[in-house]
Assembly symmetry: C2
Homo-oligomer: 414 residues x 2
């Protein structure tokens, strides 16, 4: 993979130019794209911008508006569609000098119907979803940075399946203006890169919040809570093994592992994700459903057929439960410095027909708390398996600091 910080260091040292760094990304894309299919569209050339991230080629998920490239939502309904303006996050990215390397494939409207993208670790395995192209593009070494979105687990899951680092920051840390909504109470922009270190640097630069380029945490004495999310069902053995490996590494470095009980309010909030998302998705895709139902990809169409039955009263109750969950989350995360859990149920599915399962991600998306996944080991099929580090709302710097400290102790998976 391409390390964003390493590229910038080499540019600063005069070893390469920004244009040269982009040319390297372009060459990697020319080499790998035909087998990975990460991109829905790409510019004719990669021109360097001006600013601290000049030379960084960034993939942008294809539900995010761009004025210069089509924005096709992974759906024939938006084939060739050109928005008028760039999304706010694209403008933030451009202001850093980074270059949009292309629009990355998404599942249709960021739901469950697979994108054409392959997993670079196994071309027959799923790259996950919905931010499939963003994760695979980074994993294949084509781009050092990519933007995705998460409503259930669409940043953390594909990152874990593809063996890259991914962060879903606190809700609305990155502005959603110009991003196609699916469920506005949940939709959150995130980043993928080669490491937590790269994520911190990129997120700090894009948001103008230098504290997010956090110094690695002191592991000695760090209190790490472990939650197995019993309310979400059991993981596969590979995910449990990764969690245990992570805890061993942390303990070996002097951190303290604390097994956490899930309060009832969090379990209820987990289940509230279903009606919350269903009600909002029905409204967010009302035009597509009414005018182009037959062109909506089949899993999403079936989902919307069912979601229409969520009533306003059920939605209101889900919002009340969500609020109670967010209140309970403050105490839950307040017990420890960071919390760790499964990033996904296991390795990537051994099929291109499923994007996998977001059940270990949904609660945290609903709570709006920062989640960062790093790969920890390989599973029985040789695919990466990660964990996710989390903390309370707004403590993105703490999550980045802890993940940075721990990732250096994990044996690199590639």
């Amino acid at each position: 993979m391409q390390s964003l910080r390493d590229i910038l260091r080499r540019i600063a040292a005069g070893e390469i130019t920004a244009a040269g760094a982009l040319a390297l990304s372009a060459a990697r894309i020319a080499e790998s794209e035909s087998s990975i299919l990460a991109f829905a569209s790409r510019p004719a050339e990669l021109a360097a911008g001006t600013g601290p991230l000049a030379g960084i080629a960034c993939g942008v998920k294809d539900i995010i508006d761009t004025a210069d490239l089509p924005t096709q939502m992974g759906s024939v309904i938006y084939e060739g569609w050109r928005p008028r303006s760039d999304a706010a996050v694209v403008m933030m990215l451009k202001a850093t000098g980074a270059t949009v390397a292309g629009k990355t494939h998404t599942t249709a409207f960021a739901a469950s119907d697979p994108a054409p993208t392959r997993n670079p670790h196994d071309l027959g395995a799923s790259p996950g979803g919905s931010s499939a192209g963003s994760a695979a593009g980074v994993a294949a070494g084509m781009i050092p940075l990519a933007i995705g979105t998460q409503t259930g687990g669409s940043v953390i899951r594909p990152s874990a399946y593809c063996g890259v680092a991914g962060i879903k920051p606190s809700y609305a840390l990155l502005p959603m203006v110009g991003v196609k909504p699916f469920s506005w109470s949940l939709d959150t922009l995130g980043l993928m890169a080669a490491s937590a270190d790269d994520l911190g640097l990129a997120l700090a630069t894009i948001t103008g919040r230098p504290e997010l380029d956090a110094t690695a945490a002191e592991l000695k004495g760090l209190r790490i809570g472990v939650t197995r999310q019993d309310f979400a069902g059991a993981p596969e053995p590979a995910a449990e093994a990764a969690l245990q490996r992570f805890c061993e590494i942390a303990t070996g470095a002097g951190a303290q592992i604390v097994e956490l009980e899930s309060p009832q309010a969090l379990s209820e909030a987990f289940h509230a994700h279903v009606p919350l998302q269903g009600y909002e998705a029905t409204q967010a895709l009302a035009w597509e459903y009414a005018e182009h139902r037959e062109q909506i990809a089949p899993k999403l169409r079936a989902y919307l057929d069912g979601a229409r039955s969520v009533t306003p009263a059920q939605y209101d109750e889900a919002r009340r439960i969500s609020r109670r969950g967010r209140d309970a989350a403050r105490a839950f995360f307040g017990q420890v410095d960071v919390v760790v859990s499964y990033a996904a149920p296991g390795e990537a599915p051994d099929t291109l027909a499923s994007t996998g399962d977001a059940r270990f991600n949904r609660l945290w998306t609903l709570l709006g708390v920062p989640c960062l996944t790093i790969p920890v080991m390989r599973g029985p099929r040789g695919l990466p398996v990660g964990i996710q580090v989390m903390s309370g709302f707004g403590a993105d710097d703490r999550v980045i600091a802890a993940a940075k400290a721990l990732e250096t102790r994990v044996e690199p998976i590639r």
Copy 2:
């Protein structure tokens, strides 16, 4: 003005058809539009839909996406722009059988540069902003219903200036998908109509929440809190006179008036609106500012020039203050059944160069609580002056019920 409930009653009674009701609106538009300038674009004809609001012609503010009509944001930057899809609220409207009568003029990007629209009560006076065309279209009797948005006071203020009833419901009661954002923590869709009674019926039907078509409240014993929003400065005598007239009417009907103190947390939240909106507007209009700064209308351009200086730390602090304000609002509104205050500082400005002042609206938009304005009297220049009725988050039905009971006791202003 056209009464929505009356039109539906006549259709149900067979006195007119839905097509006939639309023809009446079309005739009114043909008659008045050249002097009022409420519409930025209109369809070639008004065709009746199917559903409970069939026959109702509705204006849609021109920052709200429509697939069949341009969406021009009140700005030359979006001249002739055609979105791919309808906004969620437009789909909700169409699902009721109502007909989009046209896109109504907005100030540029729903900020402060005046729209071309005139105030039907005085063609030289401001109709208010930003939802100028929506309010004026209803006031001129061209349409019985219109959709607007409020970030500061852009539904309540133009409604009050034009002498119509307007509701800014609880935050996100109407979904913002497909509406151009200005400040996503504040932006709220609302409705204008001839009366609170019409608003309740329309909002209940559009949202599928029948309880919003509330029965008029029992005024005897109703506890009405009065807040003069000292933190926002003094009103003009006309606004104070309208508030007092309203209280006299309420007291005469057996209601109990309770003078409310403003807790410090609300005063702080009022001031937090400035950095909150500034930071978000900078991001929401980043593309327009970077690519088309010279084409941005001058007041907005100057605003954005200044708003760029809000730091992430100031923004985060504003969000924390907002949250404390929302917590304090629960106790504040919990003291009484509804709260009443000024809808605007006074009559509409005697100029087309200013859209007036939102200082009595900003806090309530930030708190996300429902606000409903009804006209109460005429001011010294003969223009309407209203008050606004408010309650806690989610108590939209209570606000509608109280306003319905009180509006029947107010002498009609036209």
